[in-house]
Subunit: 119 residues, 2 copies
């Protein structure tokens, strides 16, 4: 989420003041200030207008990605269904125990740390 930095950088590149940009988006000047300081994010409609004004893609504006869209970590879980012959997303998704199975060590560390703190 490089949005805040991207916004500030792109705005200065175009030599726009927060006030000027805000008026184009029909929001208050302070709203833009918040976005740039990471104290909030615009709603989707405003975000799209913002990308247009700054002449960048949504990915560039929000993620700071260069024109080429890079791939990302895939966290999906698919299973092959023999009856349908299709790949289906496994049901259930994430739950607490799935999490514990992967991060039990973090929980242990956390408990230990807090334990030490109290002793």
């Amino acid at each position: 989420m490089k949005f805040a930095e991207q916004l500030k950088a792109l705005r200065s590149e175009l030599h726009l003041s927060q006030d000027n940009l805000a008026s184009q988006l029909f929001v208050s000047r302070q709203a833009v200030s918040k976005w740039e300081n990471g104290d909030g994010t615009p709603d989707l409609k405003t975000l799209v207008k913002l990308a247009e004004i700054l002449h960048v893609s949504l990915d560039t504006l929000v993620l700071g990605t260069k024109p080429a869209t890079g791939d990302h970590i895939d966290s999906s879980v698919f299973v092959y269904n023999p009856t349908t012959g299709e790949y289906e997303r496994r049901r259930g998704g994430m739950n607490f125990w799935d999490f514990l199975a992967e991060y039990w060590w973090t929980v242990i560390a956390l408990v230990t740390t807090i334990g030490i703190f109290f002793f």
Copy 2:
């Protein structure tokens, strides 16, 4: 703003239920329903996660622009599980902080319980 249609289309392509998708985003099933029916839009953070899960760029997801890279299921990542007899995709890393944001109370409860146990 093709977001609603895009979401519905992309979700079905991946054979995901609203419920399944919602759990991955740590939101309620009905929230996803609203998005698809144009009765609302996700916040920026959720939108980014959504794009990742659906394997599309933000521009594709929000505006419906054609992606440069054609995305299809890569069979090389599927592994055969002898015990279940199914082809499964290895689980990727999940976002620790997203989880904490949702289940911090559970963690607190857990820590407290264990703390009490030791005292």
